[in-house]
């Protein structure tokens, strides 16, 4: 993650979305969504399929007209309706937006020329991007001969070519094998380190946790929560789960741990004690000391922190991947 966080960055946001709404017939695909992205920030839109993520970014990219709401893009009040604003935007669609009968270099050159990059500069940029996405060796091959992961990387590379101020990545790892997925995530992390503002949509909570400075959780068209991972976890009030296994005076230890500082709940079954602890890392040492003092020989400790999946479940009553 980058250091650029909302509130800590005084530069004007590259993207400011306010009250965005879009309905298809009677169904509200996006309902009053608002958020901002600061320069250099990676913002994640996390939600299940059909939550309204793609509709939201389609409006930001100018592909769909919002029914209401306002988009301020890279300083342009008219948002993506202005060509100049769209020149500052890079879009990596969910579908593989590349031409199969062109080589990787030809794809880059075609989209680069449509962006208006001068020929000489375009040649240099194509080389740079091919290097970044790791396709320099295969740049002359038709993309229909590429693996799924290579196509995904090229898909991202085309979005980067004109060095946009904001890069929108719509579920860039869908249908990708684990190895390629990791390569894509590393590329995104590298872009973030270079200070590029990113809007990243995903329904994989691990990706959002790994990549995003801030996350907006969307469900059924609405933004149900927003913040850093820690902020989101705190919003839900979820505590950590700690499990202590061992022998000796387990029941006595359970009773003592139930009264220990930070412990919300405790239960034991003779060999294992299950604790619900607010901020387990802070209290773990004192909890182990208490167990030892009560005569329990602890042989195994397991700490599981709540994740965004738990947050989503808490907020919506449904699992993220339902």
């Amino acid at each position: 993650m980058t250091a650029a966080m909302s509130g800590s960055n005084t530069a004007p946001p590259v993207l400011s979305v306010n009250g965005l709404t879009k309905a298809f017939g009677s169904r509200r695909a996006v309902d009053d969504v608002s958020f901002e992205i600061s320069p250099g920030e990676t913002y994640g839109l996390l939600g299940p399929n059909g939550a309204g993520k793609t509709t939201t970014i389609s409006m930001i990219a100018g592909l769909l007209k919002p029914d209401s709401g306002h988009i301020r893009l890279c300083g342009f009040e008219d948002g993506p309706t202005r060509r100049e604003a769209r020149a500052h935007l890079g879009l990596v669609p969910q579908d593989l937006a590349i031409y199969p009968d062109l080589t990787a270099r030809e794809n880059l050159v075609l989209f680069g020329r449509l962006q208006g990059i001068p020929r000489r500069r375009l040649r240099e940029r194509a080389d740079e991007v091919l290097d970044v996405i790791g396709l320099s060796d295969r740049s002359g091959d038709l993309t229909k001969e590429y693996s799924g992961g290579m196509k995904r990387r090229l898909n991202i590379g085309i979005g980067l070519l004109h060095q946009p101020d904001l890069l929108i990545l719509d579920e860039p790892t869908v249908g990708v094998d684990p190895q390629s997925r990791n390569a894509i995530l590393e590329s995104v992390e590298a872009l973030s380190r270079e200070g590029l503002a990113l809007l990243y949509t995903t329904h994989y909570m691990e990706e959002a946790e790994r990549l995003c400075d801030r996350i907006g959780i969307v469900d059924q068209g609405s933004m149900v929560a927003e913040g850093t991972v820690d902020e989101l976890l705190r919003i839900t009030g979820e505590a950590d789960a700690v499990s202590l296994s061992g022998s000796g005076s387990v029941l006595e230890a359970t009773r003592a741990l139930g009264k220990a500082n930070g412990v919300v709940a405790a239960s034991g079954d003779g060999t294992t004690i299950s604790l619900t602890v607010a901020d387990a890392p802070t209290h773990l040492a004192s909890l182990l000391a208490t167990a030892a003092r009560e005569g329990m020989a602890v042989t195994d400790v397991d700490v599981s922190r709540p994740d965004l999946e738990d947050v989503f479940l808490h907020l919506t009553g449904r699992a993220l991947r339902d």
């Binding site: 020149a87 879009l91 579908d95 590349i98 199969p100 449509l114 060095q163």
Partner: protein, 402 residues
């Protein structure tokens, strides 16, 4: 940070057209549908239909056996010799008993020594004059020329019989024998009612082969042009369309580029097919400028109609299906495979197709007519294109929202 780059819509269209054409060339499908298949069909149709409309009748060898001084047989020989439509190599064999010669004549026909053998029975003229029904025997080979000779003989005999009947009635009414003979002779010697003449196609109408070539070019014009605009729907399915529409170019640029690609493919394919007609089928286009204008206007009109298809279809597959149906229906109506004959609703409908207008326009150019001579088909094509453009603008986009 983004560098400040700008591109004009015209430059963007050029870039997209170049990219599209490069892909079409690599894909090769367009070559198959635009050139290989129509060329193959031209050859097949020419082989099947080309021979059904011979443009010149060949000569025919005829042997006529009759009594030496039979007047009616002489009249028949004269009628055959006077045929304008073909060259008749007539041999007269006098025979005292002509019917006895018939077997030999049959053998001569079978041995290809003669194409038609005619036996006029003995006392032919006298038999006719007394109201009898003498039988003339015709032995012939296959083919249209011997058949024409047989028809001429049949016509002559019918007239002779009619003359005999007239003479018989006149005799009963007390007409003088000299007058009766005159009537009979006049009728029998009258020119044959059947006359087949070589005629060139009327001005502005293509020959059979020319119509086949132009018809196939018109038929496949729909498919070739369809490749260009269907690519717009394919881009939507491929995912490249959202990316293109997010670029700093006008939203109409993408569709315009596809239409330009369609137009280029259509003009090139149609021109090549018409040119192949010259090389392979000896066709001639007297006024190339007129033919060229007809090709350009026709391709523009069909391209405009394909914009309607893009509006109506939800997917590329649907668009291909609609294009195929449109191409086949308009092709059949417009005469891509054979000319619809007749009058009434369907005949008028056939005239109101771009296919028919294209064939008519090419016909005018092939015949040496100028652009003014081709005004009717050109005006129709321009109107068809204009209506299509208006429809494409007014029709709501049925593509699924994303």
């Amino acid at each position: 940070m983004a560098e400040d780059h700008r591109t004009s819509d015209v430059a963007a269209i050029g870039v997209m057209v170049a990219g599209d054409l490069r892909q079409r060339i690599r894909d090769r499908t367009v070559f198959i549908f635009a050139l290989v298949v129509p060329l193959a069909l031209m050859v097949v149709f020419n082989a099947v239909f080309g021979g059904m409309n011979p443009e010149k009748l060949s000569g025919v060898r005829v042997t006529l056996v009759s009594e030496a001084n039979d007047a009616a047989a002489g009249g028949l020989a004269g009628a055959l010799a006077d045929l304008d439509s073909m060259e008749v190599d007539l041999t007269r064999l006098p025979h005292s008993d002509p019917n006895a010669a018939t077997p030999k004549l049959k053998t001569a026909v079978e041995d290809d020594k003669v194409d038609v053998a005619i036996t006029v029975p003995a006392d032919f003229t006298r038999s006719l004059g007394t109201g009898g029904q003498p039988r003339v025997t015709v032995v012939r080979r296959g083919g249209i020329e011997p058949q024409i000779i047989a028809l001429v003989v049949e016509g002559f005999v019918s007239r002779a019989a009619a003359a005999a009947k007239a003479a018989s009635v006149a005799g009963a009414e007390g007409l003088a024998p000299a007058t009766i003979a005159q009537v009979a002779l006049r009728v029998a010697d009258s020119p044959p009612t059947l006359d087949v003449a070589d005629r060139e196609a009327p001005p502005g109408q293509l020959s059979t082969q020319g119509a086949l070539v132009a018809g196939q070019a018109a038929f496949f014009m729909f498919f070739t042009i369809g490749f260009g605009v269907v690519a717009y729907l394919e881009e939507r399915e491929l995912g490249t369309l959202p990316r293109l529409r997010s670029l700093p170019i006008s939203p109409h640029t993408v569709m315009t580029a596809k239409a330009v690609v369609s137009f280029i493919l259509g003009v090139v394919a149609t021109a090549v097919l018409l040119l192949l007609g010259v090389i392979l089928f000896d066709l001639r286009y007297e006024n190339l400028l007129t033919v060229g204008v007809v090709v350009v206007v026709s391709v523009a009109a069909v391209t405009a109609s394909s914009l309607v298809v893009v509006r109506v279809a939800r997917t590329a597959e649907q668009a291909q299906m609609i294009t195929a149906i449109l191409g086949v229906v308009l092709g059949i109506l417009g005469g891509s495979f054979f000319q619809l004959t007749g009058t009434g609703f369907f005949a008028r409908l056939a005239d109101l197709t771009p296919t028919a207008a294209f064939i008519r326009g090419v016909g005018v150019g092939a015949d040496g007519g100028g652009i003014a001579d081709a005004a009717a088909p050109l005006t129709f094509l321009l109107g068809f294109g204009a209506i299509s453009v208006v429809a494409a603008v007014l029709l709501p986009d049925r593509s699924p929202a994303r």
